[in-house]
Symmetry: C2
Subunit: 400 residues, 2 copies
C-alpha cells in the first residue's frame, strides 16, 4: 500500500509538483526526495513540473492540463528496430528535459522552454511500429476498432505508428514542445496528423471540477479515480503483460458535434438525450452529479425517467471490467474552411477490445446522441510503461 | 488627472476586476462603486471580469489575456443602417452579459458562460460597414493599407465589414463567446474569417512580462503604456474625431513565420537580424530590455553594432507620432493541412496611415527579418468608442 501511495505521489502533478520522484514500484528503483515545504500558491503555475520518469508514463493519471496536442507519425520505410530505438532515446531525452522546464538538446528557441506549466509528454505505439520491431509482441487489441455504423472515419485521422501526446497548462509550452519533438522525429518519420484540444484554463475553476464539452454537458462524471486499485485494474494492469507491463492502451477518437442542430433542442430534450441534468450533471432520477442513475425509476405515466435511448443508459454496464478512463479535450477549429467543433475523446484502458468496444457497440446500436455527434477519426495506441532517469520509453519492447 | 486615473482604473482588468465601473470621462457619466476589499488571490482568475462599459471599449488597454479570437464578417447585401443598428444592439447586449459571466440572451449553453476569465469583446467597423451607414463618416485612413513588396496577401484574410475581437484567459470562454456572438450576427452577416491566437497562460509568468513570439524573440518591448498621456495621444486621441472620438484604429496582420529556415540561423545571426539579445530582449548595444538601443555604437571594426538591416533599426523612428500600440498573439495551426505558425499582429492607433504605414514602409524596404516572415493577411478597422450601460457600441455612428 505504501508503494501504491508513493506511486500516486510520483504521478500526480499536484502532489509531486516541482520535486523529484519518490517511492518505488515495479521492481525498479526511483530517485527519492522530500518535497520542499513550498506553499501551494507561492509557486507560479507555469513553474510547476510533473516528473517525466516513473513506473508509468505521465499524462495519464496526471490531472488534465488545459491544453493538449496529439501528434501522430508514421515510421519512414527504411527505419528498423534500431532506428526506432534511436528515435525513442532522442524523444525520451528531450521530453525529460522539456518537462523539467529545460530546453531540448538542440533547442532552437530555448527561452520558450522555461515555462513547464505541468508539461507531460506521453508516447503511444501504433500496431505498425510494434510490428516493425517485433511482430510477436503486438497485443491482440492493438488494431483498428471494429467500424461502427455511426462512424464516418477519415483515414487522415486514423491509425498511425507513433503518437506523441503533449499536455500543459500553457499553449506556448505545448506549441514549443510539439515543435521540438516533431523535429526529433523528422529524420525517422513522416507526420500523419495533429489534433489540438483544450479544457478550462488553470485558475478558471476549482480543482476537480468535471469538464463540460462544447454541447454544454458535464462530460466525464463516471471515471475511475487515479490512485485507486480500481483505476490500476482498469488502466495499468500491472501484472505480466510482457513489454506493456505498467503500460496501458489509448483509444483516441475525434467526435464532431453538430452544434447547429443541437441548438434546435430545448433543455428538457437535451436532458432526455443524455439522461442527466444540464445544470449540474446529476442523473434525471435525482441526487448529485456523482450519484448513481436509477435506470428503473418511472414517472407518473409509467415510463422510465431515463429513456431507453438515453446516453447514460447505453453507456452504462453491469460488467465492472467494461469501463475506461476518459481524459478528453474539446476542440473548436475556425481558422481554416468550415468551422468544426467537437471532442477529442481520449480514453485509457488496459484492453480496448475488452473495455471500450462493448460500450461503443451499445452506444452505436441505440443512443439518441448519435444524431448530433459523428466520430470522424479513430486510432488505437499501446502506451508503454514509463522509464527511469537515463532510460527511455519503449526499452521494454526494443531491448527486452 | 483624477479623471485619467479613474479611467485607467475602469479599463485595466487588473485593477477593476470584478467590480463596477468607476470614474467619469468624455462627458458621459458612469456608474460608481467602491471596489470590495477582495484579496487578489482569493478570487479564481476565472471569476475575474473586465467591465464592458466605459468611455473606451475594453480589449485595447486591457492587459492581454491568454487567448484571442478575431472573427470577421461581411454585412448581408440587404442590411441597411437600421439593420446594423439592430445588430450592434444585439451584439453589445450579449457582449455585456458574457463579459459579466452571464449567459447571452438566447444562450444555448448557459453553463459555459459562467467563467468570464477577464473576457473582453471589442468591435471594429470595416470601411464597408461605415459606407453602408454613412459614406461621409468614413475616416480617411479606413481603407486597405498600401500593398508592401514583401506582402503576399490572401483576400480570405483581408478587409471585412465587422470585426469581433474576443479575448479571455480561458479557451472555453473564448470558444463559447465567439459562438454566441456569431449566432447573433448570423441573420445580418456572412462570416469572412476567424483567426485564433494565444499567449502565455494566466499564472505562467509574472504579470507584465513581455511576450515572446514563436521565433523565440521578446516581442513588444517598445510599446506605449496604457493609462499614460502618451498612450492616449497615440491610441485614443480623445479630441474631436466625430463618431470615433474615444475610439481608435486597428491594424490586424497575419504574419507567417518560416520557422524551418529560421532554424538554420545560429544565435548571433538571429540577434543581428533583430538587433536585440535573444536571452532577454536587451539591445545589442547593452543595458536591459527596456533600455534605448544605441544605433550609432560601433564595434572594434568600426561597423555599427546594430546592422543597417536590423529590425529594431528599421522599426525605430525619431517622429514620436509614428508609434503604435501592439497587442498581438501567436498562432500555431497544425490540425488542417500544412502546419502554419506565426503572429497575429494586432496594433491599435488613432491613425494607421499616419502611424503604422511609415513604420511598415521602412521595414518593407530593408529589414532582414523579411527573409523569415511573410504577411499573408491584412485588414483595417475603426474601433468605435465604448458605451455606457444600456447603450450599444456604434451608436455614435448609427444615431449621431
Amino acid at each position: 500500500m505504501a508503494s501504491r501511495i508513493s506511486r500516486r505521489g510520483l504521478l500526480l502533478g499536484g502532489a509531486a509538483a516541482g520535486v523529484g520522484a519518490a517511492g518505488g514500484a515495479l521492481g525498479h528503483r526511483w530517485a527519492t526526495a522530500d518535497p520542499p515545504p513550498v506553499a501551494e500558491e507561492a509557486v507560479l503555475n507555469g513553474e510547476r513540473t510533473v516528473p517525466f520518469h516513473g513506473p508509468h508514463q505521465a499524462g495519464v493519471e496526471t490531472p488534465p492540463q488545459s491544453h493538449a496536442s496529439f501528434a501522430a507519425f508514421d515510421l519512414g520505410r527504411e527505419v528498423d528496430a534500431d532506428g526506432v530505438r534511436r528515435l525513442m532515446r532522442l524523444l525520451s531525452d528531450d521530453a525529460a528535459r522539456l518537462t523539467r522546464g529545460e530546453p531540448a538538446l538542440a533547442d532552437t528557441e530555448p527561452e520558450l522552454a522555461t515555462v513547464p506549466a505541468r508539461l507531460t509528454v506521453t508516447f503511444g505505439f501504433g500496431r505498425g511500429l510494434v510490428e516493425r520491431v517485433d511482430p510477436g509482441a503486438v497485443p491482440e487489441w492493438l488494431r483498428p476498432l471494429p467500424e461502427f455504423d455511426h462512424d464516418d472515419l477519415d483515414p487522415d485521422r486514423g491509425e498511425a505508428d507513433l503518437l506523441i501526446q503533449v499536455c500543459a497548462d500553457d499553449p506556448v509550452t505545448v506549441s514549443h514542445a510539439v515543435r521540438m519533438l516533431g523535429k526529433d522525429a523528422r529524420a525517422f518519420t513522416v507526420p500523419r496528423w495533429t489534433q489540438t484540444g483544450f479544457r478550462r484554463a488553470h485558475g478558471s475553476e476549482s480543482d476537480g471540477t468535471t469538464m463540460r464539452n462544447l454541447m454544454g454537458q458535464v462530460d466525464g462524471t463516471v471515471n475511475p479515480r487515479p490512485g485507486t486499485a480500481d483505476f490500476d485494474d482498469l488502466v495499468w494492469r500491472d501484472t505480466d503483460q510482457g513489454w506493456l507491463t505498467g503500460g496501458t492502451g489509448l483509444v483516441l477518437r475525434r467526435i464532431v458535434t453538430h452544434l447547429d442542430t443541437w441548438d434546435e433542442l430545448d433543455r428538457p430534450a437535451r436532458e432526455a438525450v443524455i439522461g442527466r441534468r444540464v445544470a449540474d450533471g446529476a442523473p434525471l432520477t435525482g441526487g448529485g452529479e456523482h450519484d448513481e442513475v436509477d435506470l428503473t425509476a418511472t414517472d407518473a405515466s409509467g415510463l422510465t425517467v431515463v429513456p431507453a435511448f438515453a446516453h447514460v443508459r447505453r453507456a452504462r454496464t453491469d460488467d465492472p471490467g467494461e469501463r475506461i478512463f476518459r481524459r478528453g479535450y474539446n476542440y473548436d477549429l475556425r481558422d481554416h474552411g468550415t468551422p468544426e467543433a467537437g471532442l477529442l475523446f481520449a480514453a485509457f484502458q488496459a484492453d480496448p477490445v475488452r473495455q471500450f468496444v462493448p460500450i461503443q457497440r451499445r452506444l452505436d446500436e441505440l443512443d439518441l446522441l448519435n444524431e448530433w455527434v459523428t466520430t470522424v477519426g479513430s486510432a488505437v495506441f499501446a502506451v508503454p510503461p514509463g522509464c527511469e532517469e537515463g532510460d527511455y520509453v519503449g526499452r521494454t519492447l526494443l531491448e527486452p
